[in-house]
Amino acid sequence: MEVPILKQGEYLIASIQSALTDADLLQLRDVLVEHVGRYRSRGVIVDVTALDVMDSFATRTLRDIAHMIRLRGAETVIVGIQPEVAFSMVQLGLTLEEVVTRLDFEEGIAYLNSKKGASTKLGSSLPRRTR
């Protein structure tokens, strides 16, 4: 089951539609890391609302995705972790560590926009000083 990836301005949105196999998750990772460069994206939202289970493999792969995308210079935010999924992750002792999570898609966009605001301010002040 391939995950559809939408481009919205400077952001990529990966909206998981159903249960994913390990191979699907690895493919999602590779495609996102490649697309960030191809579309010069600043941020990535991975919507896991429809994911049935976040086991050790899914958690580790999402963590890898966020770290790899950071290395490519963009931000990742995971949205839509359901209450029962959060419960089982805690029971299993799984963590997403420093990966940013937000309640839903709207909050994810708001987070990326806030990061964009910060970098724009910094970016616009630098050229002025050098001129």
Partner: protein, 143 residues
């Protein structure tokens, strides 16, 4: 196809899922969730059960390549539970104590597998020896 092959909603019926690839992991955990839900497990418990099945089935794929997950709804007179058996004829585990330690993994890709599953479930038993395969039996009672 017999009722046993279909066996999801009927109490006491069991289901067997052959594990040969990573897509069978999804089949097994979805079947387990369906059986748990049909036996009135709460959604959070059904997710715990599906997650445990996912970890156990992945161990089969990673270490033994092939095996089987058997799911049974059991009844001890007072309450229902779901019993999950993950069995393979793979290389087996030489050091079970070590395999049950948090963070230990020989494949470098798991580490929370067995101890994590033990924490999720009410009962946990593992039988394994080098060259003799591995059989993990877990049970979760409905609250």
């Amino acid at each position: 196809m017999s009722a046993k092959d279909l066996g999801i909603s009927v109490l006491g019926a069991d289901a067997r899922v052959q594990i040969r690839s990573d897509s069978d992991i999804v089949v097994a955990r979805q079947k387990g969730r369906a059986m748990a839900t049909a036996s009135s497990f709460a959604p959070a418990e059904a997710t715990l059960i599906a997650t445990a099945i996912s970890e156990l089935a992945r161990n089969i794929v990673l270490y033994a390549k092939t095996g089987e997950v058997i799911l049974k709804i059991v009844d001890n007179g007072n309450r229902h539970g779901i019993k999950i058996i993950a069995a393979d004829e793979g290389p087996g585990i030489a050091d079970l104590d070590r395999a049950m330690q948090l963070g230990y993994s020989t494949s470098g890709s798991l580490g929370l597998g067995l101890p994590g599953v033990k924490r999720l479930m009410d009962e946990f038993e593992i039988v394994s020896a080098p060259g003799k395969g591995t059989r993990v039996t877990v049970l979760k009672w409905r609250t």
